[in-house]
Amino acid sequence: MQIIVNGLISGLSLALLAAAFSVVYVPTRVFYIALAGIYTLVPFVAWACLQNLIPVPAAVFVAVLCGTLLSIGCEMFNHGPLDTKGASSGAHMVSSLGVYILLSQCAAIFWGNETKVLRTGVDTVSTFSGIILTQSQQISVVVSVMVLTLYFVVLHGSKAGTRFRAMADNATEFVLRGHNLSVMRIASFAASGALCSVSSLLVAYDIGFDAHGGLTAVLLAIVGVIIGGRKSFNGPIIGAICLSLIRAMVIWVFSAQWAEAFTFAVLAAVLLIRPEGMLSFRMRLEAAS
């Protein structure tokens, strides 16, 4: 039971990251690996703020703002111009990879390669009907659930959310109906940056961070996205949580060293058997005859 709860909690923060990835991938088809760079950099910013005795809420705010701005920068200076040139999806992916390498190496050069912690002192532990939860886990649950709820409400209950889904559905038609695609793209990158920053801070607060963990985390989130269905906004969240549970089980039954192999075996299986994702359904459309 403890294992399932732990898996669920790490699944929630992974779900944030998966949402961050798909919020860009679904509408723009940009394979946004640069997210890993933002994921790497944000805790360093928060850490630097804390070192300079800036209070915690302000540090968190600065870090999330920084992640959001970085993500907007990625769109304005990298993916936007590439899109205008009509670059292929491969070019987007490769340049995004370049941005990731750039950001994570910047972090390493400025702040060093060693692991750091955001939290000072030992985590306090509380027990709920036999299940042990640390304080950072409790924070993680509360924040992730809040952010995910907000994400869901905005997406399905607001005008901005409708526009967002419309852009994801048919970008050309969206443009023809008089909506500014550039602005919407920037908005989606901003949302992605913010979601990613929150996820990164939660994980960093719990287990610490270094300059090299970003890609692993984002790859894991991408696996979650693939499992949940890469064409939907909600599938990836469920996919990421499932993936975390599966990993927790693998670690429990076998050992931690095989968790990666198992994760990617799941990815391969999903790609081969159900490339559209386990949780997505095929849209019924009139066949193009």
């Binding site: 394979f31 070019a91 370049g98 390493a108 060293q257 081969l272």
Partner: protein
């Protein structure tokens, strides 16, 4: 002098690996992240074959090539159905699984190289012998450099023949439009298996050379960073013709050496090297998507 020879050996080895990746990325249009894993397959096979059964360079590297060729089915069969992002992901999955295998096929109770401790985990395999031919061992760096450079030339010639043959025409046609190519009666599935197997075998040969030169292998050579470095070489040099990857390998290996001349401290130099790789990738995609000397834009 030794420094120049050392550089030449590395450029030859990476030139071979980049050229092998070009067959898949440039001619089949499939970006693969698993090339370093097959390179590592070559390394480990060479290491085990030479240390455990005392094979010569040629049979040991051939064995590595055959094993890598067979293991390439893990990415070529999925490539029947998947392309673009999905193929990148499946190659990533294969890379991660092979990496786990190299890292975890170990048990503390047995000797390195035995069945239960095949790879010796993160410690790697040591004391790999220098290349030997019919009992004659090349111990000095000059002859190793000659071997590596010769191997590069041979690989270049072979890939040149292959990439100018009707086979490569089928590959390019498949890359442009798979359905049309099938409609001309070409067996594209077989072509994919062939191309990826040849490419992986070539990478494994590079791996055997590497293992015989540095005398030591550990799982980091199969890591994602390594795959990305090779991918950088091909993307920077350019895909779709046979000289691009060599240009890429030379350029990307020259950068850290230049940094060394700038008297950069070692810790920063390695980060800075990667930073420059990243920057080059971004600039490349914006201003020269076909690479420095390439003829095909990745899709």
């Amino acid at each position: 002098m030794n420094y120049a020879l050392h550089l030449m050996i590395f450029m030859s080895i990476y030139g071979i690996v980049a050229a092998s990746l070009n067959i898949v990325s440039g001619y089949c249009g499939l970006l693969t992240m698993a090339q370093a894993s097959y390179f590592a397959v070559g390394c480990y096979t060479y290491a085990l074959a030479t240390t455990k059964s005392g094979m010569d360079f040629i049979p040991a590297s051939l064995l590595g090539m055959v094993i890598a060729g067979l293991m390439s089915l893990a990415i070529s069969v999925p490539a029947w159905r998947l392309r673009g992002d999905s193929f990148v992901l499946i190659s990533l999955a294969v890379q991660q699984m092979l990496f786990s295998l190299f890292q975890n096929w170990t048990s503390p109770n047995s000797e390195p190289g035995t069945w239960s401790n095949l790879t010796n985990g993160t410690f790697g395999l040591t004391n790999i012998p220098k290349p030997s031919f019919f009992g004659m061992q090349l111990t000095d760096i000059e002859s190793t450099a000659a071997l590596a450079f010769g191997a590069l030339i041979v690989c270049m010639l072979l890939s040149r023949v292959l990439l100018r043959s009707p086979w490569s025409r089928v590959l390019q046609s498949m890359r442009d439009d798979e359905l049309v190519t099938r409609g001309m009666g070409k067996n594209v599935r077989l072509a994919k298996i062939q191309a990826i197997a040849i490419s992986c075998a070539m990478a494994a040969f590079g791996g055997a050379l590497y293992a015989s030169y540095v005398n030591y292998v550990d799982p980091t050579i199969a890591s994602l960073d390594e795959s990305m470095a090779v991918l950088c070489m091909v993307l920077v040099g350019g895909t779709g013709n046979f000289r691009g990857p060599i240009v890429g390998a030379i350029v990307l290996l020259a950068i850290p050496e230049l940094l060394r001349f700038c008297a950069m401290p070692d810790t920063i130099a390695s980060n800075l090297r990667l930073l420059i790789y990243g920057l080059i990738l971004i600039l490349m995609m914006h201003f020269r998507p076909q690479g420095l000397a390439g003829s095909y834009r990745i899709s």
